[in-house]
C-alpha cells in the first residue's frame, strides 16, 4: 500500500461546494504537481465537516490543522509554508472568538469540542466514493458480525436494548418496529426494507449530509435490517432536490455489489439482499410513510389511514420496515459497540445522540451531533456561538412545519423527545432555526402555514380547507386587517384540524401557530389592535415618519419617492402621507440628515 506523509482533506459538503471548494481542490492538484508533492501528499474530498459557515474548509493531517475560508489564492501559501516547510499558515486558521488566538485543530473549537459523533462518525474524515476508506473505519464489520455470529432475533434484541428511537421525528422505538415487521406475515413471506431519505423539513440537512458523506453506512445498516426482519429487497427514497446524494448513493451501491456486500450470497453466508434508489418528485407529504410507499409504487403521494401500519401492510401490501437515514446511520455502531455502550449515552427515555442542523440568526451554522439531554443553551450559545450582531435571542424553532418555537424559558431544558413535546414543540428531524429579536413571530407562523397549506395533498378536508382558512386569517393579521376574535377562531380551527386530519402533516400543521400564540400572544395582539408589527417585519404595518426637528427641508425624499407620498415646502419640514406611502423605504435610505424613521 502506498504511504503518504500528509493528507489534505477538503470538505465537499453542499455548503462548501457552493462556497467554491472545487476551485480550491483544482488549485491543490496543480500546486502539488508543480511542487512534485503528489506522490507524498494525498488529497481527499470528504463529506460535510459540519461547520458550513467556515467553508471552504481544508484540514491537513497528521496534525489535523483546520483552515477556514480557503480560496484558490491561498493554496500556494498553504502548500509552500505548511506542506513544504512545516509552518502553519496562521492567517487562515480559525481564531478563538474571545481571545482572537489562532486555534490549531477542530478539537479545540467549541463547535466540535462538545460533540459526540455516532451518526456523523465518518463525515469529513473519509472519501465517500472510496469503499476502502469506509471499511478501514470498521465499515461492514457490523454486517459481518450479524451474518456470521447472530440470529435475527439477537439482532432485534440488541437494537431494542439499545433504546434507539426513530430519528425522523416521531421517536418510535426502532427495535420494536423491527420486531413487528419480522413477526408480520411469517418469517418467510415477501418483505421490504425502506430508507426514508425524503428529508423535507426546511432547515434540516443531516440526512443529506450522511447520504453524501457516508453512503455505505446506510447500505450496511439496511442490509442488517433486512437480515433481521427477513427481507430480500430494499429501497432508498431520496428527494429530487438532492442530486449529489442520489449520485453518491448510486456509486456506493455499485461498489458494494462489486465487493459482494450487496446482492446474492453476501459474504458467502447465503444471505441475499439488494437495493434500489427511488427519487422523489418534490412533494413534502411523501415524508409521511404511507405517502412514501404510494410514491414508490408510482402513485400520487397521498397518505392513507393507519392501521394497518406499514409493518404489516406496506409496499405492495407486504410487511415493510421504514426507517430514517439518521436512524440507520446509528445501527452499525450499536451492533459493534453493543446496546449497553449505546444506552449509556443520552437521557432515561431518549438514548444516544441527536444530530441538529443549526441555522438562522446564529454565529456558527452547520451540523452538530450531541448527546440527548444537552440543553438548548449549550447548543445555541456554546456550539453555535450565540447570536450575531449583538442581537438578543428570541426563539428557536424545532421540528420544522410540524414543530414549535422554544423561548428563553426553555433554554435550560435538556433536549430529548419528551422535553421538547412538553415545551410545546417536537424533536422532528432535528432542524434548529435560531431567531433573533428582529423576527416577527406572526410572520413566522404565517410562513409555516403557507408551507403546509401548499404541501397539503388535498385528500382530507380538514387539512385542505382548514389550513387554507387559517392562512387567510394569518395573512390578514400581518397585513394590518386583523379583527377581534381572530385569535379565538385560529385556536378553534387548530383544534379541529389537529383532531380530524388523516396524517401527520395535517395533525401537526397548527403547531407553529399554537406555539407562537402561547409564547408571543402580545405580538399577535399588537398586530390586531394597534396595527403595529413590534419586530418591524410586516411591510404593510411599517410606518415611515419624518422627524420635523431633524428635517432641513432639502426635498430629496420627495424627489425619490416613487409614489409622490411626500410633500412640503423647501427649507420647511416635509410630511409623509401615510395613505399613499408604499413603504418602500427609499426615502429613509436617501435622507442625508437621518430625519426619517421607520416605526
Amino acid at each position: 500500500m502506498k504511504l503518504f506523509r500528509a493528507h489534505v482533506l477538503i470538505c465537499g459538503g453542499a455548503g462548501c461546494i457552493s462556497s467554491g471548494c472545487h476551485a480550491v481542490k483544482e488549485e491543490f492538484i496543480r500546486e502539488l504537481q508543480a511542487k512534485g508533492l503528489h506522490d507524498e501528499i494525498q488529497l481527499i474530498e470528504t463529506g460535510c465537516v459540519g461547520s458550513c459557515d467556515l467553508g471552504p474548509i481544508v484540514i491537513i493531517y497528521p496534525e489535523g490543522v483546520f483552515y477556514q475560508h480557503v480560496t484558490p489564492e491561498d493554496v500556494r501559501e498553504i502548500v509552500s509554508e505548511h506542506l513544504l516547510k512545516g509552518r502553519y499558515v496562521k492567517r487562515k486558521m480559525y481564531r478563538h472568538p474571545s481571545s482572537g488566538e489562532p486555534v490549531v485543530t477542530s478539537r479545540e473549537m467549541d463547535f466540535f469540542r462538545h460533540q459526540t459523533r455516532i451518526a456523523l462518525r465518518n463525515l469529513g474524515l473519509i472519501d465517500p466514493e472510496r469503499i476502502e476508506e469506509y471499511i478501514a473505519r470498521d465499515g461492514y464489520f457490523a454486517l459481518g458480525k450479524v451474518l456470521n455470529e447472530m440470529t435475527p432475533e439477537e439482532v432485534i434484541r440488541e437494537i431494542k436494548d439499545s433504546g434507539l428511537r426513530g430519528r425522523g421525528g416521531a421517536g418510535f422505538p426502532t427495535g420494536l418496529k423491527w420486531e413487528l415487521t419480522r413477526e408480520a406475515g411469517g418469517a418467510r413471506g415477501e418483505k421490504y426494507v425502506v430508507c426514508n431519505a425524503d428529508e423535507g423539513d426546511p432547515g434540516a440537512f443531516m440526512d443529506r449530509s450522511i447520504l453524501e458523506g457516508d453512503p455505505h453506512s446506510i447500505i450496511e445498516a439496511m442490509a442488517i435490517a433486512a437480515y433481521a426482519i427477513g427481507a430480500g429487497q430494499g429501497y432508498i427514497y431520496v428527494r429530487a432536490e438532492y442530486p449529489l446524494a442520489v449520485a453518491r448513493m448510486k456509486q456506493a451501491i455499485t461498489k458494494a455489489r462489486e465487493y459482494g456486500l450487496l446482492g446474492k450470497n453476501i459474504m458467502g453466508t447465503g444471505f441475499s439482499f439488494d437495493l434500489e434508489i427511488r427519487v422523489g418528485a418534490g412533494a413534502f407529504v411523501c415524508g409521511e410513510e404511507t405517502a412514501l410507499i404510494a410514491s414508490i409504487e408510482g402513485k400520487r403521494g397521498e397518505p392513507r389511514m393507519k392501521p394497518p401500519f406499514p409493518a404489516t401492510a406496506g409496499l405492495w401490501g407486504k410487511p415493510t420496515l421504514i426507517n430514517n437515514v439518521e436512524t440507520y446511520a446509528n445501527i452499525p455502531v450499536v451492533i459493534l459497540k453493543g446496546a449497553q455502550w449505546f444506552s449509556r449515552i443520552g437521557t432515561e427515555k431518549s438514548k444516544g445522540t441527536k444530530v441538529f442542523a443549526i441555522a438562522g440568526n446564529i454565529n456558527n451554522t452547520g451540523l452538530v451531533e450531541v448527546p440527548m439531554g444537552t440543553t438548548l443553551r449549550k447548543i445555541i450559545f456554546d456550539l453555535g456561538g450565540g447570536i450575531p450582531n449583538g442581537k438578543r435571542f428570541k426563539a428557536a424553532q424545532t421540528g420544522g412545519p410540524s414543530g414549535g418555537c422554544l423561548t428563553e424559558k426553555d433554554l435550560d431544558t435538556p433536549v430529548d423527545y419528551e422535553s421538547l413535546k412538553a415545551a410545546g414543540s417536537m424533536m422532528g428531524s432535528g432542524g434548529l432555526i435560531v431567531m433573533d429579536e428582529d423576527t416577527c413571530m406572526v410572520d413566522v407562523a404565517r410562513f409555516f402555514l403557507e408551507f403546509t397549506q401548499d404541501e397539503s395533498c388535498g385528500k382530507c378536508v380538514p387539512c385542505r380547507i382548514g389550513t387554507k382558512h387559517m392562512l387567510e386569517i394569518l395573512t390578514r393579521i400581518t397585513e394590518g386587517k386583523g379583527e377581534e376574535g381572530d385569535l379565538e377562531t385560529l385556536e378553534e380551527l387548530a383544534e379541529v384540524i389537529t383532531s380530524s386530519s388523516l396524517c401527520g402533516l395535517g395533525q401537526s400543521a397548527s403547531n407553529p401557530v399554537l406555539s407562537t400564540l402561547r409564547n408571543f400572544r402580545d405580538e399577535y395582539e399588537a398586530h390586531i389592535r394597534e396595527k403595529r408589527c413590534p419586530a418591524g417585519v410586516c411591510t404593510a404595518l411599517k410606518r415611515y415618519e419624518i422627524i420635523s426637528d431633524l428635517c432641513k427641508g432639502c426635498g430629496l425624499c420627495a424627489r425619490v419617492c416613487p409614489v409622490q407620498a411626500i410633500s412640503g415646502v423647501l427649507k420647511e419640514p416635509y410630511l409623509i402621507d401615510q395613505e399613499t406611502c408604499s413603504k418602500c423605504g427609499l426615502c429613509l435610505s436617501k435622507c442625508p440628515f437621518k430625519a426619517i424613521v421607520m416605526k
Binding site: 423535507g200 434540516a204 429530487a240 408510482g298 438562522g360 432542524g431 432555526i433
Partner: protein, 165 residues
C-alpha cells in the same frame, strides 16, 4: 414549440422520441415504474408534453388519467415548457428568516416575471423551492445545478447576467 410540431420537424426531436421508446422498454413490467419514467422523460423533453404522457400511459399499461394525475401531483414535473435555466429561490425557514423574500422580489423585478413564469426569451423560469439543505449559507438560490449562497438582493442582477452570456 409543441411536442407535435417537434415530432414533425427535422431538428433531432425524432431522436428524443426514439430515446423515449428505449426508456419505456427498459421499464416495462418494472413495478412502480411510472415516476422514474416521468423523471427521465422530463430530462429528455424539458417538460412532459401531452403526447409523451399518452405514450407512457400506453406502454406502461396505465390509464392516461393516472399518468396525468401523477404528473400534476408532484411539483418537480412540469406540464409546460420551461426556460433554459430554472432560477429557484429557497424558501426554507433559514433562508426565509435571513431575507429570501427580498431576494425573490429582486429577481421578479429584474426578470419581470412572477413565480412559475418563464421570461419571453425562454432563458429563465422563476420558481420558489423548499429547503435545498444549504441552510448554513442562507439565503440561497439555485440556477440549474449551481448553488449561490450568502446572497443579498444587490448581488442578484450580476449573477443572472452570467447566464445571459
Amino acid at each position: 414549440m409543441t411536442a407535435s410540431s417537434c415530432r414533425a420537424s427535422a431538428h433531432g426531436c425524432d431522436g428524443k422520441y426514439r430515446k423515449l421508446e428505449e426508456i419505456l422498454q427498459e421499464y416495462k413490467g418494472v413495478p412502480g415504474a411510472l415516476i422514474p419514467v416521468l423523471h427521465q422523460a422530463q430530462l429528455l423533453f424539458g417538460y412532459l408534453p401531452h403526447d409523451v404522457q399518452v405514450r407512457i400511459a400506453e406502454e406502461l399499461d396505465l390509464p392516461l388519467s393516472e399518468v396525468y394525475g401523477v404528473s400534476s401531483f408532484y411539483s418537480f414535473f412540469s406540464l409546460k415548457p420551461r426556460g433554459k435555466y430554472t432560477v429557484s429561490v429557497c424558501m426554507g425557514t433559514a433562508c426565509y428568516v435571513k431575507g429570501a423574500p427580498a431576494l425573490l422580489e429582486k429577481i421578479r423585478e429584474t426578470l419581470q416575471i412572477e413565480d412559475g413564469e418563464t421570461t419571453e426569451d425562454g432563458l429563465f423560469t422563476l420558481d420558489t423551492t423548499r429547503c435545498v439543505g444549504a441552510c448554513g449559507l442562507a439565503p440561497v438560490l439555485t440556477i440549474g445545478d449551481d448553488v449561490y449562497g450568502r446572497l443579498t438582493p444587490e448581488k442578484v442582477p450580476e449573477i443572472l447576467e452570467r447566464y445571459r452570456q
